[in-house]
């Protein structure tokens, strides 16, 4: 009975959200520009929700609490890097948007193709972005699986439930495009806010009187010494060195995801982007509440190890609260997986459709481009689902590679807004060098060297190779033609 109530609420919420998204795009004519970047007319409020929607994924919802539960203070890095990313975006996003509007870009790789006048560089960026995105979509599925399992009290086969929810959202993305995803984010953010307030304020108040009380309890617990501060030691995994280098790395990488570039293009104008960058840090404070939920769970349901830590506060809700509360909180988490997954699938599909298919002569005209992108959305969905069904255990590692991978685009985007730019060969060589460092480190299972995140080492290798190569292969005089 409890399982039926909780799962019923989740199903109702998912259906209602899809309905809202479809309502948002009623009467909108779907050409490629409308489908992929919302016709470049997304206003301040909807853009805020779209950008925020990409931050608050199930991984944040469950993962940030899981980190606070399983690792303690190193989790604070999550608060820092988003803020750093907004500061960078305050300067970078309006410049990228202006160029994208003037030159009519639809995808992140379009920026590389046009600014460096190389179709090959565009295709390289598209392929790398695609490879990094599929595991990210898959990760959302793992989050949804955890939530459905808890809401179903372990009696439901999550495979079936996840398959239904996921293909509904894939179909939704197929129909509604980016503007639909932004509208779905309205429902998602409202519900996530309720869920986070419940988990971060109501739970600690229930068990310890207040969040401060929960933190007192963590400090009193002798099994977790120094849980609320980062150091010592000063080097090694999760040390202060790791936190600072990871904040720098992920702060630079944040807007490099193809779906984030698409969100930048979709803005109505540059001022909208600047205002969003100014106010988005306030949104980060929600994460503080998620940490409180993780700390509370650490003292109420201790002993969860490894990936099980991600279930921390949901288990409290399951154990101590009525089924309808569990249903609402789990529904918030499910939307936090499905809505970002829509944006990610759309981005993954559009970069292959545009920068690999259309740029190489397949399906070039507007209508077939929209059709190809739509079909690719379904292909991405099937790939991600297959990936999830086969190899769901090693995904967190894959996501970290993904983040480190897309960060390699950062030098190319920053230098790309300048008037004098390096050659495509130099930018491409830098990206390849960064990826080689990442792959070598990943194969050897090295995530940090003396506390320095290997992604940052890869980024430095990227910049060094880019600098050397731009001296060796200077940029030819611009002809304005694209090879």
């Amino acid at each position: 009975m409890s399982a039926a109530v909780a799962l019923g609420i989740i199903a109702l919420v998912v259906v209602a959200t899809i309905a809202l998204g479809l309502y948002g795009v009623r009467g909108v004519k779907m050409d490629a520009q409308e489908y992929i970047v919302g016709g470049r007319r997304i206003g301040a409020l909807l853009l805020w929700l779209l950008l925020a929607g990409e931050i608050y994924t199930t991984f944040t919802f469950l993962g940030a609490a899981g980190w606070a539960y399983g690792k303690g203070a190193p989790a604070y890095y999550i608060l820092c890097y988003g803020t750093l990313a907004y500061i960078i975006s305050f300067f970078l996003a309006p410049a990228v948007h202006r160029i994208a509007r003037e030159r009519g870009y639809l995808t992140g790789p379009d920026f590389f193709r046009d600014r460096y006048e190389s179709r090959l560089l565009g295709a390289l960026v598209a392929l790398v972005g695609f490879v990094m995105l599929v595991p990210y979509v898959t990760l959302q599925l793992t989050g949804i699986q955890i939530l459905v399992q808890i809401a179903g009290f372990g009696r439901i086969d999550p495979l079936v439930a996840v398959a239904i929810a996921f293909f509904m959202i894939a179909l939704f993305t197929f129909v509604a495009g980016l503007r639909g995803a932004a509208w779905a984010a309205v429902a998602k953010d409202g519900l996530v806010l309720i869920g986070v307030i419940f988990a971060g304020l109501v739970l600690p108040a229930h068990f310890f009187g207040s969040p401060a009380g929960a933190m007192d309890a963590v400090l009193r617990d002798p099994t977790h010494p120094n849980w609320l501060v980062i150091g010592p030691p000063s080097a090694g995994a999760n040390s202060i060195t790791w936190v600072v280098t990871t904040v720098v790395l992920t702060g630079c990488g944040f807007f490099m995801w193809p779906q984030s570039m698409a969100a930048i293009y979709s803005a109505r104008d540059e001022e909208t982007l600047r205002r969003n960058a100014i106010f988005l840090p306030f949104y980060q404070v929600m994460l503080l509440l998620v940490f409180f939920a993780g700390f509370t769970a650490l003292e109420v349901v201790p002993g969860l190890k490894g990936p099980a830590a991600d279930q921390s506060f949901m288990l409290i809700v399951q154990k101590y609260y009525p089924a309808w509360v569990l249903g609402i909180i789990a529904a918030a988490g499910v939307l936090a997986g499905l809505v970002p997954a829509a944006g990610q699938m759309l981005a993954a599909a559009s970069i292959i459709g545009k920068n690999v298919c259309a740029d190489y002569g397949f399906a070039r005209d507007e209508r077939s481009q929209t059709l190809v992108t739509r079909v690719l959305v379904l292909v991405v969905a099937i790939l991600a689902f297959g990936f999830w069904a086969v190899a769901k255990t090693t995904l967190v590692g894959l996501l970290l590679i993904g983040y480190n991978g897309v960060t390699q685009f950062f030098p190319g985007v920053v230098l790309g807004v300048a008037d004098r730019r390096p050659s495509a060969a130099a930018v491409g060589a830098g990206i390849v060098a960064g990826l080689v460092v990442l792959i070598v480190c990943t194969v050897r299972g090295v995530g940090q060297i003396d506390g320095v995140n290997t992604g940052l080492i890869a980024l430095i290798a990227n910049v060094v190779v880019l600098a050397i190569a731009s001296v060796a292969v200077p940029r030819r005089a611009t002809s304005g033609e694209i090879a």
């Binding site: 007192d216 609320l228 904040v247 600047r274 940490f291």
Partner: protein, 64 residues
């Protein structure tokens, strides 16, 4: 309409960047606790909340 980034804007933006990166190193302490939060967490939250003020200042300087 805002123009290009100028020196004032870049300095305004650099302050929270430094506070949230290298600034976390000296701030990594438990005491004094603020609203029950360890000092390092309170430091980070404070700078996250101050960032909009610094970016607004940068924005104003760019509008000239």
């Amino acid at each position: 309409m805002a123009g290009r980034p100028n020196a004032t804007a870049l300095v305004c933006a650099a302050i929270p960047v430094l506070a949230l990166t290298v600034g976390v190193i000296p701030a990594d302490r438990l005491e004094p606790r603020i609203f029950g939060m360890p000092f390092v967490l309170a430091w980070i939250v404070l700078w996250v909340l101050l960032t909009p003020a610094f970016l607004s200042a940068a924005h104003r300087s760019m509008r000239g």
